[in-house]
Symmetry: C2
């Protein structure tokens, strides 16, 4: 059983961790999709970034960060790309990263999640702490997107809906 | 080594998961502490709950939810208690729950994290999916608290500061 190591249960298995992440990514995608296109790139509260900028940060972390873990090649942190203020382009980048995560994850079998690494050449931790940081950071910023949506009079997707 | 099961590494060990959770709890505590006391109980954006109400939800989930996992006794979901609009009282409840989590966690050794459970008698999942849901929900609402703080002109604690 993939959920066990030599008969003892894992807290969370490698495959469960990917599914957990992808579930969060599906929810974040819904939040991007429900944003009015103008406000996605312009709307701000309290001097914070528009939600699209937060999404670019998430895009800059997830796939490059996992690729770095899988290949051992230091990744560059790049939180910007030319989206042309297009929601479709942002969603396309999101879906592309989701697919790449899936492909990269297929190489994670046998990975030592306790291995010390330095993400993006600057953030020391372990494979597991880096991955959880990537996910936690997505949840954090998505929660902020919820407030933006509510203040725009738009009901966000249910937090527990990971379909 | 606690990070291994019979020689193979865990994705995240039982002790690491508690430390991960407690790190998030330390950050959430900072967010509660930095809120102006009035606004903690009254300030709202887009018709959402004041941050204190979100904190009461988190208090209603974490310790009762873990106690249910440890004891097998169905917990009641109670997201309200008499805080008297006192930040000190909210922080006291937070610290009490943090301590109880630590004590309950000492009984988690040997727990089957893949066991099917029904949290609060209504949310089906596994021990691991329930625990991650509790943590993710905290990160989600805390992120919303960050927006409240920014819109009040207050700089929130750094997201990566779990000290």
């Amino acid at each position: 059983m993939e959920n066990t190591i030599k008969g003892a249960t894992q807290v969370i298995s490698i495959n469960q961790l990917l599914e957990h992440w992808q579930g969060h990514r599906r929810l974040t995608r819904k939040v991007i999709a429900i944003f009015p296109e103008d406000e996605l790139f312009t709307y701000s509260i309290g001097g914070m970034r528009p939600f699209a900028d937060m999404v670019m940060e998430l895009l800059g972390i997830a796939e490059p960060g996992l690729r770095e873990i899988v290949t051992g090649q230091t990744a560059q942190l790049n939180e910007h790309f030319d989206h042309g203020n297009s929601k479709a382009k942002l969603l396309e980048s999101w879906d592309s990263a989701t697919q790449q995560l899936k492909e990269l994850w297929a190489q994670m079998e046998g990975t030592d999640f306790q291995k010390q690494i330095v993400s993006f050449g600057q953030f020391p931790g372990t494979v597991q702490s880096a991955l959880f940081y990537f996910m936690d950071n997505e949840i954090h910023h998505r929660g902020q997107g919820y407030v933006y949506l509510r203040s725009l009079g738009i009901e966000p997707p249910m937090f527990y809906d990971r379909s």
